[in-house]
Symmetry: C2
Subunit: 169 residues, 2 copies
Amino acid sequence: MPESDSELVEAEAEETAGEPLVRRSDQLGLGPLGDYIGFHLRLAQDASFRNFVRHTGRRDLRPGRFTALLLIRENPGITPMGLSRGAGRDKSTITPLLRDLERQGLIERRPVPTDRRSHVLALTPAGQTLLDELCEHAARHDAELDEIVGIENKPAFLAQLRAIIERLG
Amino acid sequence: MPESDSELVEAEAEETAGEPLVRRSDQLGLGPLGDYIGFHLRLAQDASFRNFVRHTGRRDLRPGRFTALLLIRENPGITPMGLSRGAGRDKSTITPLLRDLERQGLIERRPVPTDRRSHVLALTPAGQTLLDELCEHAARHDAELDEIVGIENKPAFLAQLRAIIERLG
DNA sequence: TATTGTTATACTCTATAACTATA
DNA sequence: TATAGTTATAGAGTATAACAATA
């Protein structure tokens, strides 16, 4: 799906809000899709994301911010173009994302002496703090997934997901 | 992400367009997410969706339309509210979706004698034809997923996805 | 009172194309 | 010429809130 991408969540929120996220009723017929892997991948990803949001208590969290912060932390010296390629998103989507993160004081841009067109991205202390917090939520969320899948099945399950990721585009 | 949802793809397009969908470079570090099920679910769903789009040749295909058409076909007598609950989306998102499908001549609305607030949805012949075509693409796409996962592993893999779907929200 | 469906409004994510300033 | 990044623009998808008609 030009739909998902390479991230998980996002940051920043004003308020937490209740929990009215619409819940699928699942009493409907699905036809041929009832046994499709692709369809279930989609449903599982949806459920997983909702659970993550539940953990963070921030319903405004959406893909992009979290991944951006994480990729910046894990890849020192990364540039906006590197982020674009790493996240699998067009560079034009990176500009407003970084603008917002910078405006919120979560990241900063540093000049690159060797190429004055570009700049290096880095987390500010506030960005580190927020990312740490999100990572804790992510860890708790994923522990639930581990439990559901069964820790003994996790390696095989992950291997199958990785196979899909690598062998499809 | 309040991000994904309960569908797979969508319908309608003007032209096919090249294939410039940005491709993840994957040479970047992922930190703690490197072993997270949730993260890999997201990547796999992303890859799967891109592959589906590749099959259909319609890059404008996105979640929503396809599911709507499918749920309408598979659940005779369904109403907009039923669709909303089945798809796990707020009813306010259903209105414009149905408006577009109707405008394209893919669905029609029929009055409900017992409740004049509502109406029953049904595919037109054109809607059936389009849905059939999309289902063929979906079948070929999912056959690739079967091959990647390995047909002998499919039942267990699907069971794990279903466990995630059912046990998380 | 509660529900169905619509409308108004807004925000996120995404992309293409055109532009600039460098390389 | 080609690349890094920005801006302008556009279109899905989603949601909340308020509303009219009906139950």
